[in-house]
Structures are given as structure tokens and as C-alpha cells.
Symmetry: C2
Subunit: 200 residues, 2 copies
């Protein structure tokens, strides 16, 4: 997942696969997800994934190159689903809701997605690297669009950046794992931040 | 530079050194700073630093372990000076200014420090890792203190986090190196963000 890869179209980024290869790919990703859900991320070895998916270990390596590559593919899979929910999904995230409703739904949804993916982000990127993090550019561009629809004056890309701050991986790790902030507290703080930022 | 190291007292974190060792350390750090200023960060090899400081290469390795260790020490040196300016320095950053004056001075100062250290941060940490970044915990705690003095209601640590967003390394790299934002634009955007956040 490089920084220069266009984020849209989100679902067309992969080369066309033969259907049995595509089936294998999905089977392996789903096996890895089951393993993570059941035993945690450390249980996800290439061997364990191959066994769970019912394919050979060589197939897993051919498709994903390395454990880190598999983690990156899992992260990509999750983030693509999140982007699709924003672009094409039902209200309140999707385009049929009004801009304020979408904005208020954005934060909790981004928070939950990042929290669910924290371990994956670490394993996929070898660290909380900002560059390889979840779709930051997509998120900022979406927030900017909503702020514009809401008629907010000011430097919208910079205000959008401030709205993304609570979802930085290192911030969330600090707040949830060390400072003991609850998810509800972070959500409430984000709603308050939105309220402050959208007023002119 | 680990995450669990107490950030205060900022200037007492190093073990006591014999004075010749301390002189060597400072001479090496200053030599590295001169090399960076003159030839850029890629010119900083352990050999070049030893030659510039007039010490043996072995001394540089004994003091700093590796090029990455030397970069981390340089970053630490710069960040300690910045923290000292906030804690003990003259107005508008230091404690003799009123809280709003300090807050308005904080952003440009943090922006300039991070921009000056961007290459160093990459080389010191092997990436824009949030965990090893400039003193995030110190900065958030200082901002929280100023917001409290200003009588801002709301979840102050979370609001402080939003004020730090424009200074995330990956955000600054995106905005200054790819999107072409000027430093003046980022400063102005930050002042506007402050204005929005301190209103209740």
C-alpha cells in the first residue's frame, strides 16, 4: 500500500484475477480474519492461515508474499469496505444523508474502524507509520467536502486535518491503552470538536 | 528515545558524564549540526562527523552507537531546547506571557521546529513513527494547561489533540511537500483553529 496509489476507484485497484485465483485470495483473507477473531493477531502465521483456508502454504506466499503482505491486504480489505460505506452506503454515512448527519456519523465510524484495525496497522506497516496508515487522504478529502457543503468558512483542508487528529494511531493508542479513555469519551469529544469547528 | 521515558525533567534525563566525555558529546553533536546545515542530512556519515568534530570514528560510535542513534540524539537536543523555551523561556512562548499569547505563539514555534527536524525525524526513527515523534505528550499536556487557564470548557486533552493535528509529521509532509501549502498558510490555519476551539 503505497502513498501514491490513487485511492479512487477504491474497488478497482487490483489487477483482474482469474476467478479461481480470486476465490483463493478471498478464502485466504477470510481464513486470516477468522484466525484473528478467534485467537488474536499473533496466531496468524502463514502456516495457520494456509491450514485454515485449506490451501498450500506456497499458495499463501505466492498471493501475499509475506506475513506483512497478508496483513496489508487484510487492512486494505477493511479500509475499502469503509470507504465504500461512505461513498455508496446507506445513511447516515452514505450520500443520502444530509451533510451534518454524515459528518456526525463519520467520527464514530472512523474511530471504530481504526480501533478494530490497530493491531493490523502495526503488523501491516511495521509501525504506526503515518504514510501507510488508513486512507488519510480519502478521509480528509471527504471531511473537506462535508465542511464545504455545510458552508464552513476557513481553510477547509486544515480544519479537516484537525477533525482527523483523534483517529491518529499513536493518539488512539495513547488514549485508549495508556490514559484509559473510553471509546464513548473519544466519541463525545469528537462531536464537541465538530461543533466548535463548524461554527464560523 | 522510548515512549516511556519521562519527559520531565527534560534536561536531566542523561546520566552524569565526566566533563571530557560531555565535551566530546557536545562537539560531536555540533559537528553533525554543522554538516547538516552545510551539506544536508545525507552528508552525515559517522566518518564525516568524526572528521568534522576532530575525534576518532570509534569515539562517535561509542557515544552514539549508530548513525540512527546520533540522529536520535540530535533530535533530542533540538526538542529539549524547544521544551526549555516553553517552560523557562521569554514571552511569548514562556511562562511570563498570558495564556492566549502563549497559545498563539505555540503553533508557529511547533511548526517551525517540526519542519526543521523533518529529515532528522525520519532518520532518527526509521520512519514517521508517531511513537518516537517529537514530544507529543509534553505538547498535549502544555496545550491542555493553556486551554484550562483560558477557561475553555470541554474535554481538554481531546481538544489539545486536535490542536496538534497540523504538526503531525505525515500531515506536514503531505501539505508542504505534496500539496504545496506554504508555511504562512499553515500558521494562519492554525490560528483560525485556535479561535474556533477556544470559544465555548
Amino acid at each position: 500500500m503505497t502513498d501514491d496509489r490513487p485511492l479512487l476507484p477504491i474497488l478497482g485497484g487490483r489487477p483482474v484475477e482469474r476467478s479461481d485465483a480470486a476465490r483463493n485470495r478471498v478464502a485466504i483473507l477470510e481464513a486470516a480474519q477468522r484466525l484473528i477473531a478467534r485467537d488474536g493477531i499473533d496466531a496468524v502465521t502463514m502456516d495457520a492461515v494456509a491450514a485454515e483456508a485449506g490451501v498450500g502454504k506456497g499458495t499463501v506466499f505466492r498471493r501475499f508474499d509475506s506475513r506483512q503482505g497478508l496483513m496489508a491486504a487484510l487492512l486494505d480489505h477493511s479500509e475499502s469496505a469503509w470507504q465504500a460505506a461512505i461513498l455508496f452506503g446507506p445513511p447516515p454515512l452514505g450520500p443520502d444523508a444530509d451533510p451534518m448527519e454524515r459528518l456526525l456519523a463519520f467520527g464514530p465510524s472512523r474511530l471504530e474502524t481504526t480501533l478494530a484495525n490497530l493491531d493490523l496497522i502495526r503488523h501491516a506497516t511495521g509501525g504506526p507509520s503515518g504514510r501507510s496508515q488508513p486512507p488519510y487522504v480519502f478521509a480528509v478529502s471527504h471531511l473537506r467536502h462535508l465542511l464545504e457543503q455545510l458552508g464552513v468558512r476557513g481553510d477547509l483542508p486544515l480544519l479537516a486535518t484537525a477533525l482527523m487528529a483523534p483517529f491518529e494511531v499513536h493518539v488512539l493508542e495513547q488514549q485508549t491503552r495508556r490514559d484509559g479513555f473510553t471509546v464513548e469519551r473519544i466519541k463525545a469529544g469528537w462531536i464537541d470538536l465538530v461543533r466548535r469547528i463548524v461554527r464560523d
